[in-house]
């Protein structure tokens, strides 16, 4: 039976919505209608227990599914449910137009009635997992992950790349904290991670899927080995590299010029009364991070405290810890703005010519040592490793996170995680925190018993041209062209539907969201709107179910009203929208189509924001070429933090 259950939200919604009219007019679409006053409370839930059976299809008209969906997911016996956020998308945003709001509610409920007809039960995914983890890189983050996971009872293999040398590792990581802290931490981690299996070598091949990866290892002793793991954590380190001004500064030609990472060794060797003049300079072309800035301050303070005269030529020093700067001043470090123009080797020492561009002033210093701030770069083996594993890198060559805010330890590939400096140079605390995060995330994944469920794409072999468009589009390596088949790997799938938008033939369809379902729904929204509102213009918002939908919900909470005649259709991901749905919207008479996605780089499925922009641009080009106004179609991002986005987009219609 198809059932409609409405909630008045403790009778508050009756102020803006005419429930009696809804009940009357929606009548024949559903076999039963119930209006409840508090579905989310225990009494409401008990009512649903009794009312809804396994075979019913249900439309819930209440608050946003983000709220009501949570308790209902556990209590509703049927999986075939469509939610209409009458509160956030209708009542709260059309407060001054009861008739219009009620009309809109009718349109949306009618749409949901069609939507549930297309719903299929979610597919349970095979979640067989190898409860073992491979860590690449046995530095601080790597050791931390290893000891965390060991404590959680997970079997860990630690792979150390051939370049790895535990002796100089401490030195290489000095930018993360002062050396005594560092030493202490490493010592502790070594104790707690005892028992981890260590292997020296590199990864030569990866196959399988998230949860069941088969990794081929090439060991330093020449042996090849294949291991099965459920997850991989990349915990490689950063490397120091000489800055671009190294050559000008005679780096490598004289032992009077050194890198910042070499400074502490030099100071440590100094005898008590031996005081030197040390000139430390930044590289103007290197964008300084707060990690590098803090490191610089720590080192110069140490050198000054040992009785040296320390001059720092800087353009900009970033640090999150003001105290470091204060300590440096206190220890007697001299800070001078300016950039190094020339360095000449003289008998009395190195003559450094400094130009202060702001005051067009030139000064010369004769010093014993010239110290260059190093650049922190990704580990040199990062690119080959990323290529083997199929990971994306960011602009600087560090491993890219899937989604910086919400998924900071996930990489672009499911089942592969990052910790510590593999992502970006970090100070000790951040690196340890990120390592703990990664181990928890991996642990959660590996012990996730129960089911992983979702609507998945299904390929019809008969219709498939093997064009590979879906394979190319899938951001998660969840579709593979094997022989004469396109194979879906459910464990890698994020249920985003992006693949479906790419298919030229319709050989691949997304469960519950077939092409026909979109086309039918778009058409019926238009028909119903015209029936109730006549000539009044309307717009359609194709919103992704993540950020954009949250932003539209927030518009409701924040009371950022907008005109009625604006209908939101929720897509799993904005990347699932193809030119077909957009053009269909225009054909049925929508004045404007807005494709709302997550902010740039913030798509929860990695590429949806970018792809939907491309699709909209492409559709606009089609419209231009047939003499239609391309501005009727727009792609834009919406986020919860900007609740007025919806208002801005649909307010000025026409």
């Amino acid at each position: 039976m198809k059932k409609l259950i409405l909630c008045t939200c403790n009778k508050t919604l009756t102020k803006w919505l005419d429930f009696a009219r809804i009940e009357k007019e929606v009548g024949s679409t559903f076999e039963s209608i119930h209006i409840h006053d508090a579905l989310c409370l225990e009494e409401g839930l008990t009512f649903l227990d009794a009312e809804v059976s396994k075979d019913d299809t249900v439309v819930i008209g209440a608050c946003t599914s983000q709220i009501i969906g949570v308790p209902l997911a556990e209590r509703l016996k049927s999986e075939l449910v469509s939610y209409v956020p009458l509160r956030e998308h209708v009542a709260w945003v059309h407060k001054d137009d009861q008739k219009g709001a009620t009309n809109k509610a009718l349109v949306l409920l009618n749409d949901a009635a069609i939507h549930v007809d297309f719903l299929e039960p979610q597919t349970a995914v095979d979640i067989e997992m190898e409860k073992k983890v491979l860590i690449v890189g046995g530095g601080i983050a790597g050791l931390k992950v290893a000891s965390d996971l060991l404590q959680l009872g997970i079997e860990v293999t630690l792979l150390e790349p051939p370049e790895f040398n535990s002796k100089d590792y401490l030195e290489k990581n000095q930018f993360m904290a002062d050396s005594s802290t560092l030493k202490g931490v490493v010592k502790d981690l070594k104790t707690t991670s005892k028992g981890v299996k260590k292997v020296c070598g590199t990864i030569s091949k990866l196959s399988g899927r998230a949860g069941l990866y088969s990794v081929s290892l090439k060991r330093d002793n020449g042996k090849e080995e294949e291991i099965l793991v459920g997850a991989i954590i990349i915990a490689t380190n950063s490397e120091h590299s000489p800055p671009s001004i190294a050559k000008m500064c005679h780096y490598g030609k004289t032992n009077q010029t050194l890198l910042l990472s070499e400074l502490s060794t030099l100071i440590a060797k100094q005898t008590a009364k031996e005081s030197k003049t040390i000139f430390v300079t930044q590289d103007p072309s290197y964008h300084d991070s707060s990690v590098a800035g803090s490191y610089l301050l720590r080192e110069v303070t140490y050198a000054a405290e040992k009785g040296n005269t320390v001059i720092v030529a800087h353009s900009d020093i970033h640090t999150k810890d003001e105290n470091l700067y204060r300590a440096a001043r206190k220890s007697g470090v001299i800070f001078i703005r300016g950039s190094l123009e020339k360095v000449s080797k003289k008998k009395k020492g190195l003559v450094c010519r400094l130009e202060n561009t702001l005051e067009s002033q030139v000064r010369e210093f004769t010093v014993d040592y010239l110290v260059l701030q190093t650049q922190l770069k990704p580990w040199s083996g990062t690119r080959p490793l990323a290529d083997t594993l199929g990971l994306n890198l960011d602009r600087e060559g560090f491993i890219k996170t899937r989604y910086a805010k919400m998924k900071p330890v996930q990489t672009s590939k499911r089942g592969i995680f990052i910790a510590g400096n593999a992502k970006t140079p970090m100070n000790l605390n951040d690196a340890l925190a990120s390592a703990s995060n990664a181990s928890l995330e991996v642990f959660k994944n590996l012990i996730a018993d129960g089911e992983r469920k979702g609507w998945i794409p299904v390929v019809d072999e008969e219709l498939c041209d093997l064009c590979d468009a879906c394979v190319e589009a899938c951001p998660n390596d969840a579709l593979r062209h094997e022989g004469d088949l396109i194979k879906h790997i459910p464990m890698n799938c994020e249920f985003c539907g992006i693949c479906v938008s790419a298919c030229p033939t319709r050989a691949i369809e997304f469960q519950s969201h077939s092409k026909d379902s979109w086309l039918t729904r778009i058409e019926s929204i238009a028909t119903k709107h015209k029936k109730l509102e006549g000539q009044k213009p309307f717009s359609l918002v194709y919103a992704c179910s993540e950020c954009a939908n949250a932003s539209i919900d927030q518009a409701g909470f924040a009371g950022k009203g907008y005109p009625t005649g604006s209908y939101v259709i929720q897509f799993p991901c904005a990347g699932m929208v193809s030119p077909i749905e957009i053009l269909k919207g225009l054909v049925v008479g929508a004045e404007k189509i807005i494709v709302a996605h997550c902010p740039p780089g913030g798509c929860h499925h990695q590429t949806g924001d970018h792809l939907s922009e491309l699709v909209v641009k492409f559709t606009q080009d089609m419209l231009k070429s047939i003499g239609q106004d391309p501005s009727r179609v727009k792609a834009t991002y919406m986020i919860a933090a900007l609740p007025n986005k919806m208002q801005e987009e649909v307010a000025h219609r026409g």
Partner: protein, 308 residues
């Protein structure tokens, strides 16, 4: 494939005029034609490209809007439903039905699933393999040969002055069987036929390759005559439509049309005589010589002359 390029180069070498019209390909002639492409059903699957040995096909990042709008979607629809809907929606939005100035649009980089096939007339050997490979029925073979596109512009050679004692120099390809015997018979019968003719014996008229015709022309022949057994009497194919002489008739017709287009029309002919037809053979030669005499010497700068 090199063979095709060689042949086209040979045609360019004997052309004295830029061809202006496409040439019809006779039914019996294989290996030449035009691949017609319907963009509106194409799924950009590249199967045709993989199938094409001479690499005559390629993929371009464009969408042919013109084809999309102009096509009539058949009753049963396209096999590719997404394309069908796209085409229908676009047609629906384009209400004025004026498709004249509709331009192709480019596909944004990074958007999979769209593209257009480009076909190169020059490389194509009309082997049909792409047509068999295409799952969406986008490709068909048309019996026309896009000569202007293939040959390109030709610079006319300086006109040649007719020497006083010029006699037509004709190369005659005769088949081993009937024609050669007919020529012999003509000789035995002391029938008079022009002396300016050089006969070259071939096993069968069907064995004559176009490059030989072009080579003869390039080397200063004023005309080329091909003779074979009477039609349906080919010693190698009888009355099958695949018999050598049948096929060659189609080919020679095709080549003469091409000769017409490249400015040397009338200088190629095919005819048939049985072993017993000495008189007929003499007549054939006579008529053709007369025709060439009227046309005058070949306008082609013979290779040998160029060398001198």
């Amino acid at each position: 494939m090199d063979k095709r390029i060689q042949l086209l180069d040979a045609i360019r070498a004997i052309a004295v005029k830029t061809p202006m019209n496409d040439v019809e390909v006779p039914e019996s002639v294989v290996g030449f034609g035009t691949i017609e492409y319907k963009a509106q059903t194409c799924s950009a699957c590249k199967k045709c490209i993989l199938a094409c040995e001479p690499a005559a096909l390629d993929m371009e990042d464009t969408l042919n809007m013109h084809d999309y709008l102009r096509v009539t979607v058949p009753q049963e629809g396209f096999r590719s439903k997404n394309r069908e809907v796209l085409v229908t929606l676009l047609q629906n939005l384009k209400q004025d039905h004026d498709y004249g100035d509709v331009q192709a649009i480019s596909v944004p980089e990074g958007l999979p699933g769209y593209g257009s096939i480009v076909w190169s007339a020059e490389q194509c050997i009309a082997c049909d393999k792409c047509i068999e490979a295409c799952p969406e029925d986008c490709l068909t073979l048309q019996k026309t040969y896009k000569l202007p596109e293939i040959i390109g512009p030709i610079e006319a050679p300086p006109p040649r002055t007719e020497g006083k004692d010029w006699e037509p120099f004709i190369v005659c390809f005769v088949c081993w069987e009937c024609s050669h015997a007919a020529a012999d018979l003509a000789g035995l019968m002391h029938l008079h036929y022009p002396a300016s003719i050089r006969t070259i014996r071939l096993p069968c008229s069907g064995a004559l390759e176009p490059i030989h015709i072009m080579t003869a022309m390039a080397n200063g022949a004023d005309g080329v005559l091909v003779t074979g057994c009477l039609l349906s009497e080919c010693h190698y194919g009888g009355d099958s439509p695949k018999a050598g002489n049948f096929m060659q008739e189609g080919f020679v017709k095709f080549w003469s049309d091409i000769f017409e287009e490249i400015g040397i029309g009338g200088r190629l002919n095919i005819d048939f005589a049985s072993a017993a037809m000495g008189i007929k053979f003499a007549e054939i030669v006579e008529t053709f010589t007369e025709q060439i005499r009227k046309l005058g010497p070949t306008p082609i700068q013979a290779k040998t002359e160029v060398q001198e």
